[in-house]
Subunit: 692 residues, 2 copies
Amino acid sequence: MKFIAVLTLLLLNACFLFAQKTFTVSSPSSSVLLQVSQKVDGSLYYAVKFKRKNVIIPSMLGLKFSNPAVTLSAFQITSVDSLTKNETWKPVWGETSSIRNHYKELKLTLIEKSGSDIQVTITFRVFNDGVGFRYEFPQQPNLNHFILADELTQFALTGDHKTFWIPGDYDSNEYLYNTSRLSEIDALTASTQEPDIAVKSVFDANAVQTPLMMKSADGLYISLHEAALINYPAMNLVLDKKNFTFTTHLVPDAAGNKAYLQTPARTPWRTILISDKATDILDSKMILNLNDPSVIDDPSWIKPQKFIGVWWEMHIGKGTWDLASGKHAANTENVKRYIDFASRFGFDGVLVEGWNVGWEDWFGNWKENVFDFITPYSDYDIQYLTAYAKQKGVRIIMHHETSGSVTNYERWMEKAYQYMVDHDMNAVKTGYVGKIIPRGEHHDGQWMVNHYQRVAEKTASYKIMLDAHEPVRSTGLHRTYPNWLASEAARGSEFNNAGKLGMTPEHTTILPFTRLLGGPMDFTPGLFHLQLNQFEKNRTQRVRSTLAKQLALYITMYSPLQMAADLPENYEKYLDAFQFIVDVPVDWDDSRTLEGEPGDFITIVRKAKGKDDWYLGAITDENSRSLKITLDFLETGRKYEAFIYRDSEKADWETNPESYTIEKRVVTSKTKLNIWLANGGGCAIRIIMLPK
Amino acid sequence: MKFIAVLTLLLLNACFLFAQKTFTVSSPSSSVLLQVSQKVDGSLYYAVKFKRKNVIIPSMLGLKFSNPAVTLSAFQITSVDSLTKNETWKPVWGETSSIRNHYKELKLTLIEKSGSDIQVTITFRVFNDGVGFRYEFPQQPNLNHFILADELTQFALTGDHKTFWIPGDYDSNEYLYNTSRLSEIDALTASTQEPDIAVKSVFDANAVQTPLMMKSADGLYISLHEAALINYPAMNLVLDKKNFTFTTHLVPDAAGNKAYLQTPARTPWRTILISDKATDILDSKMILNLNDPSVIDDPSWIKPQKFIGVWWEMHIGKGTWDLASGKHAANTENVKRYIDFASRFGFDGVLVEGWNVGWEDWFGNWKENVFDFITPYSDYDIQYLTAYAKQKGVRIIMHHETSGSVTNYERWMEKAYQYMVDHDMNAVKTGYVGKIIPRGEHHDGQWMVNHYQRVAEKTASYKIMLDAHEPVRSTGLHRTYPNWLASEAARGSEFNNAGKLGMTPEHTTILPFTRLLGGPMDFTPGLFHLQLNQFEKNRTQRVRSTLAKQLALYITMYSPLQMAADLPENYEKYLDAFQFIVDVPVDWDDSRTLEGEPGDFITIVRKAKGKDDWYLGAITDENSRSLKITLDFLETGRKYEAFIYRDSEKADWETNPESYTIEKRVVTSKTKLNIWLANGGGCAIRIIMLPK
């Protein structure tokens, strides 16, 4: 118990609430310091410092049950345990081939003091880049089933930080990020500015979602989030603007309860990620480390992959999901064209949306029986296309839009997965557009959290990979369920066609600091046709990016599942630039963030899995910028050929977005590149080791 | 349009609300008269008379939508259609081998007047014993999806009738019947007196359930109920005691809505059953006639049947459902004993409750994942017992207790039914003891109504017969789904072991006038061990019946599925009386109620299917009575042997319940029997045609 200093202060002071005991744990490198203190009344507070700077000042720990009706806010400490863990593990796929898990742990075993005798353990893990803690309820005589009314955990901050936030919401995480001081958070106003989000449930003007990114006046980057969200509702945070303290607000169920739990039970980890370097935030593996290891014994069937899809053409109004319109996109001929294109350029999959009957009446009416997930439209010859795709070495990716009717999906689920197996499909994109059925449940409540997990488990049992759209935000569960390749769970590229706010150039510089900290996002980059033309009368918004930036996103928006989102005919126009998408890998041995600032820019370099090749992506917001990159990550003494896809000198996301330059040159670890990024621009570089 | 008299009154009166138009329809025999009137403001009212006596005085028709937000209470009448139907149809099984469906129909096609242009049709069917009407929404330009906020249908009665009621409740129909004046209805007090009902949701002191039986001061028997409850919540009735008017109150969902509908849509039939003879109420087929014909093309696999079961021994504490107690009843040896007993006496089935793992923690905690319906307890050798039962010519009846966790049941349902087929079972008893999951839904709401129907359809697809416990009350759907043999949906025999109110002697004289009007009940009669003994420490209540009455219930409580509820060892003590249960059929060519008075007594006689044998059952409440029965239903000129199972002269449900006499005599159609029923007693008679 070397690293825990127990201070018994017991000050003979008029104020009984002064700290009585304090437990202090520092991280392995001593960068992060956790202090847990107990007041005389038994209440517990935790505080976190980073390099001696306060990050979290004393903040309450506790929970409130509705059944039994007990508030767990004052405790007797029955034991204090500690350990140090230092291990390395290998993910099935990821940004790096191995991950170090190094922390010191403090475990407080507590008895609730008011007479309930309920036992709870709070486990803290202190990493060099942050802290995670959770509540655990062991099996015990005085507690079996219980219902959670509220979690009382607080996060008291040191000041009016700059923050990158979206409204707290029970149903949607598809908001554009707002950048403001904490004191300027206004979730209600932000929500009313978002007419394009299908289902919104904002509940408090001061509420925000996690992952929440902040930057303090003294230069610290702080992210609040959670890890391993299992059998529990998602956490929102409600700000007390007087003292800059966030309190957890869990997503309720139809009855107003927060969670139904049974011992042994545990909450997700509450996480505080901290650094004085923004790049460390992007490179952190803390959330993954706080998740359980993979439950899939033989993951050999799980393959990171790239795909194209019958999808964007519906968004821009060229085709439709439904058949009745007369413009049905998922018809045999059109899908055959996509399969041909995928095969020609080595894509693994072709997503086909709108393949199944039901789209004529699928949305907006809380309708329960919409799709059956096994009945194709009459113009979609699935037998023929299955055989054709197989012959072409491509797999069709299944689409299961539930329209939020989850009871219906659960009824069809097993038949639907068997249907996939029968048709040679091993990846599914799920969707939850609409109000949830069971009615009264929310996308981010405990029941739906359990549903998403059930889908991950059930698909795994059929050896199916999963890409969930409109689910709860990611919390690192792709470690435990590596078949769950990616989720949407944020505003993705589809909002490039959304009306009012759309997709700003800065959005992609914020997502890696927020949403992506929880796990891969199916952002669907790769749009090449960026301005509107006369055939796109349905479009209300254009793509606010340069073409070169679209390439860079394949590096800066990490995912083992990457779409090339645009239409084949648009790629045909720029096949030289498209080559980067053809070449870019989706699995990596190493990844390093070279520079970054949320809301401004990001430059990341990654090393291809099992190869000596590197790929660099650099993006900027609406402002142009010049990069100086030293390629010192390359092996010294070796030569490489670099293929540089960059904005041309005339490029600008507003006036000239499709103007790019491709340059080829030999580089070494000593090369310094000067790269100019246009307004809303980016740069992608492929660096291939040359033979000796 | 012969039988409809249209009266345009348009009185030049200060009161604009006076009737403008009246449509009058009389029943085929003219016993029932329906009048539908429209006031100047467009509102519609209906009234019903029986043999010139008012039954329903002008009562409002209408509905209120929450989306679109329209109240449908004033209409323009666009067409008036009528027809007469006179047909005879044959049920798959039933109380009679054929049923006459004879009514006159009035169909008003209406346009809502406030500007919505919503079209609704109200269809009235006028039978000789009552009226049914429903609202129908055809496909139309101005209405597709809609959400029902309330149904506004009223039933205005003529006075402070005597009524047999149970509290209006969203979740339970297992109340003991109260007998009072309408003005004395007090649902809240009645509910608080029922500690033995697992889940109660009483919502209004003046609310009652249907079927609601009433008797007017002028001698009319009136029953309010509904028929063909499909895709709609159950109807409760809330009384305005000032004017004795009931208004419908539909069971809400988790969001507070009543129903989600899409055109074409229709409500259940609202039914008013009327007679001046109580016996006509019991013989009415109106509710069956208002249901759709069978959807099962080949019903040859559906078999009315008798069964015994491992069930009552758990209720009385001899055994348990769970294994951990050490008294697990559903063990291989014990079930083998039941199979032997069933085989010896020709029973079709053996119900086995507590066969599957999960009973150690199944109730009371709104727990979602309780049972999987396919995993037997370790001491239950299902392979062996399946083979053993087959060899003995008996089938095991499956038990699916869901504990109210319906999302879980729906996930397992198909596997569970396949498991039944794989184990030679073709009948299932379902159970819904507990608060419903999806949380916030109720047993009697639209979502659950759809679930029960889904179970009926899904079991039918596996050729499985259904016996639903704790479902919504029956509304005649056994015509449409004849595999749905019976439901509980009321206080059954199990309450003979319930603490406070238990099961009164009069309860079984009320059930046929209330709950059973909707369809067969799995009441589980046949208890022979009626007083407590020293081994029954768990019991808090004894059986309030004589043994002879237990036999009579097989006739008076019609069901194609009848249990012999007591333990084999209790039947062994009274094998001579048990012979009646062995002999009594469960399917009939004819049935006639000879006499009856709700709350007092019932005598019914039935003719065995395809035979010349008759069976008579007579029961009384807590008061003894003398019956004089003329056997004029027998074929004239033929001799019969009658086996009379009656209370002995010393019998009394309280002091001497197991005292009975069995008498054998030759009878003819001219025979007059004098039968004495003890307090809480009854009589059962088997009458076999003798050879010429």
